[in-house]
């Protein structure tokens, strides 16, 4: 009699047993980090604004030496990478794992293209003796030295963020492949996306300040 008794209904979700997930907390933490990044870059934008108001003509002249075409191409590259990033998140939510990995790999590729463009842009400047502390720079007016100092400092810090973003995405790609990011647990990918879009937002402001200031 007792053998034929129906067992109690087992919990339907066994795979998540004992796993604690705080979706809202994880996202809030990422946003708090983004606020600190806003303050970091905000301070640099203030420095730019002040020095520009002190040396308006020299900033105008130095900005004309930057490669506008390369700046605009990199903007389009980064905007497109933001699109592929967000599509990767939509895909995993729709349980399309391969598509999600494809979009994420595309985002990494575009991030790398951005860095390669930046490398050639900086190399061209170095070739012309334009780098902080060079003899050529020290002979130029203070306003132009400040412009290029801010240019290398701010695009360099931004480039560091792009590099970190690409490394983060490579980790997320492995997580996707190993099903550690799933349609019902994708906060890691979502937070990586938030970081990547922040990098995009910062570049949106860098473009007019440096490349379009002429």
């Amino acid at each position: 009699m007792s053998v034929s008794a129906e067992p109690q209904a087992a919990p339907p979700v066994q795979e998540h047993a004992g796993e604690h997930r705080d979706y809202a907390g994880a996202k809030l933490g990422m946003w708090l980090f983004i606020f600190s990044e806003l303050i970091l870059f905000g301070g640099l934008f203030v420095a730019y604004g002040m020095y520009r108001s002190m040396h308006a003509h020299e900033f105008h002249k130095a900005s004309g030496e930057l490669n506008l075409t390369l700046g605009v191409i990199n903007t389009l590259v980064l905007l497109t990478s933001s699109l592929t990033m967000v599509l990767s998140i939509v895909a995993i939510r729709l349980q399309r794992k391969l598509q999600s990995m494809f979009f994420l790999a595309g985002t990494m590729l575009l991030g790398t293209v951005f860095l390669v463009n930046k490398f050639f842009e900086w190399m061209a400047k170095f070739h012309h003796g334009i780098y902080p502390g060079s003899e050529h720079m020290m002979a130029r007016p203070p306003g132009e030295r400040l412009f290029f100092g801010l240019y290398f400092g701010m695009t360099g810090l931004h480039g560091l963020h792009v590099t970190i973003g690409v490394v983060l995405m490579s980790v997320m790609l492995v997580f996707l492949a190993r099903d550690r990011i799933r349609h019902d647990d994708f906060i890691k990918l979502e937070n990586t996306g938030l970081y990547w879009h922040l990098v995009d937002v910062i570049w949106i402001f860098l473009l007019p300040l440096f490349y379009l200031a002429a």
């Binding site: 919990p11 979700v13 998540h16 604690h20 997930r21 979706y23 809202a24 996202k27 809030l28 946003w31 606020f35 806003l38 303050i39 905000g42 934008f45 203030v46 604004g49 002040m50 108001s53 506008l68 605009v72 903007t75 389009l76 905007l79 497109t80 933001s82 699109l83 990033m85 967000v86 599509l87 939509v90 939510r93 729709l94 019902d184 979502e190 996306g193 938030l194 879009h197 922040l198 995009d200 937002v201 949106i204 402001f205 473009l207 007019p208 300040l209 379009l212 002429a214």
Partner: protein, 100 residues
């Protein structure tokens, strides 16, 4: 189990691919307009681009790509407060710098 159910209840509907592609097209067009205005060599138009088009682009990324449009009111207030604080810092610094 209960926290998983709660998570699912809190999760908003999935926004489709099309919405984000439209936002991307808008961002590309706005970039074109921004660059177009700056090469006209009219400082007023270039300033308009910097003060209007650039924040519009940033807002599109913030609201759609960063999903803020679909987040809770609490998170929206937090982001608003953070950006307002940044604008106040920048405003105060400049008011001191320009009128001293």
């Amino acid at each position: 189990m209960s926290h998983i159910t709660q998570q699912k209840a809190e999760a908003p509907h999935i926004v489709g691919y099309a919405t984000f592609v439209k936002v991307w097209i808008a961002l590309v067009l706005l970039t074109g307009l921004l660059v177009g205005l700056s090469v006209t060599h009219r400082p007023n138009l270039a300033l308009l681009g910097l003060l209007v088009i650039t924040p519009t682009k940033a807002s599109l990324v913030l609201f759609y790509f960063m999903h803020l449009k679909y987040e809770s009111a609490a998170l929206k207030y937090m982001v608003t407060a953070a950006i307002a604080a940044l604008i106040i810092f920048i405003g105060l610094t400049f008011s001191d710098f320009l009128f001293r």
